[in-house]
Amino acid sequence: DKLDDIIASGTLRCAVVLDFPPMGMRDANNAPEGFDVDYCNDLAKALGVTAEIVETPFPERIPALMSGRVDVGVASTSDTLERAKTVGFSIPYFAFEMAVTSNDAAGIKSYDDMKGHTVGAVAGTYEAIALEQQVTAWGEGEFRPYQTQADVFLALSQGQLDATVSTSTVAMANVKTGNFPGISVVGKAPFDTDYVALFTNRDEYGLINYLNLFVNQQIRTGRYAELYEKWVGGALPALTVPNAYR
């Protein structure tokens, strides 16, 4: 099966989204770096093979997997039931809290202040779907989806958006870069925690099993905490859900 194939071939090819700091991004030499990049490298090490990072934007993740261009997705992918009809997910390897980032000029101090404003998020993401529903429920203001996280923050700093909801890690990372003057993280968004998982082909049970154990081992060995501290910092989010098995 695929697990054997990977070991036999000697390379593990990971789909990683590279405009999603700090999970995936580029350094000044335009080389890939970030949490997901390290995570893939760890997985390759565990398998005893070398890692190959394949840059894959959000919409491209599934075709890349299906075509066999990549073996595993380490791409901050929310494990929705809808998607699980198409691909096979591991247990969650990361969890995002949602944060509100606003343009200082808009005077937004909290999630509820966004009512009536123009807000946006990355098209098709967990938070975009939730936020769009919220704007509809408020009945005023406007919701805009952009293609990439970068475009969202560009629009935010240009003042085209008054606020955005994104994963708190991403929000912090973007504000920290200093690329976007005049924006700040102003609070949490009351959305459910967004659990993201590794994925591979739906029928590769052997590999999925391996991935599950790998995620577990990363936590046990403290590597998860180490990476979290390196790329994100702060309180380590729990990856288990109270009162449920997985």
Partner: protein
């Protein structure tokens, strides 16, 4: 034969939503054409006018529209002009981008059409006491639009296809935007985009057939 299980009914269940998107796509295309034609006529006149500056602006418009990617023009209409503090909504940005493109291409067509109309036509009109503007309005313009009718139809098809670029400026109400959102939701990439492709195909065919009918009615000479 394929190692892939098609799930058409899942995708087809979303057809009504996609049809809503098709309506928005048509709205953008039609508006951009109407405004584009008006602007193109203006540009054509400016390019004929004596004033150097006006001619320069019109020529610049036409050449930029024809020599840079449409995606660039739309992206510019949103993120580029925002650097001056001018903000347009995604719908307006897309409309501006496509209209800019339409006007440029059509103006070039109109200029070619004008060349095909004998100069003696204006003379004949002027000799009947018409003003320059009247001669243009009643004699040159109708003939120009007729000669340009096929290019205009093609441009209309282009306008429809160009709406797919709206997603880059945050547009998600049009056919392509909706398809993309649905794809993010379900990951049924192939099925959803195949349906979108068919819808686009049908729209363009309706436009070309419609144009043929209109032409048959309109141009009896």
């Amino acid at each position: 034969m394929f190692g892939y299980t098609f799930q058409w009914n899942q995708a087809l269940a979303r057809l009504p939503k996609m049809l809503d998107g098709a309506v928005v796509t048509m709205e953008v295309a039609v508006l951009s054409m109407l405004i584009g034609i008006a602007l193109a006529i203006l540009l054509t006149l400016l390019r004929l006018s004596g004033a150097r500056a006006l001619r320069g602006i019109a020529t610049g418009w036409v050449e930029i529209a024809r020599n840079t990617p449409a995606l660039f023009q739309i992206y510019m209409a949103h993120f580029g002009v925002a650097s001056f503090g001018i903000h347009f909504s995604p719908f307006v940005s897309l409309l501006i981008g496509i209209t800019f493109n339409n006007a440029g291409y059509l103006a070039e067509n109109f200029r070619g059409a004008l060349k095909a109309i004998p100069e003696t036509q204006t003379r004949a009109g002027r000799s009947l006491g018409m003003s320059q503007l009247q001669a243009f309005r009643y004699i040159i313009l109708p003939q120009m639009l007729r000669i340009s009718f096929l290019p205009m139809t093609n441009q209309m098809v282009w306008a429809v296809l160009m709406t797919s670029l709206g997603v880059t400026v945050g547009m998600n109400a049009d056919l392509y935007g909706i398809t993309q959102d649905l794809n993010a939701l379900t990951f049924r990439t192939f099925e959803l985009f195949a349906i979108a492709g068919v819808l686009f195909y049908v729209i363009t065919k309706i436009i070309t057939l419609g144009a043929r009918l209109i032409a048959a009615r309109l141009f009896r000479y």
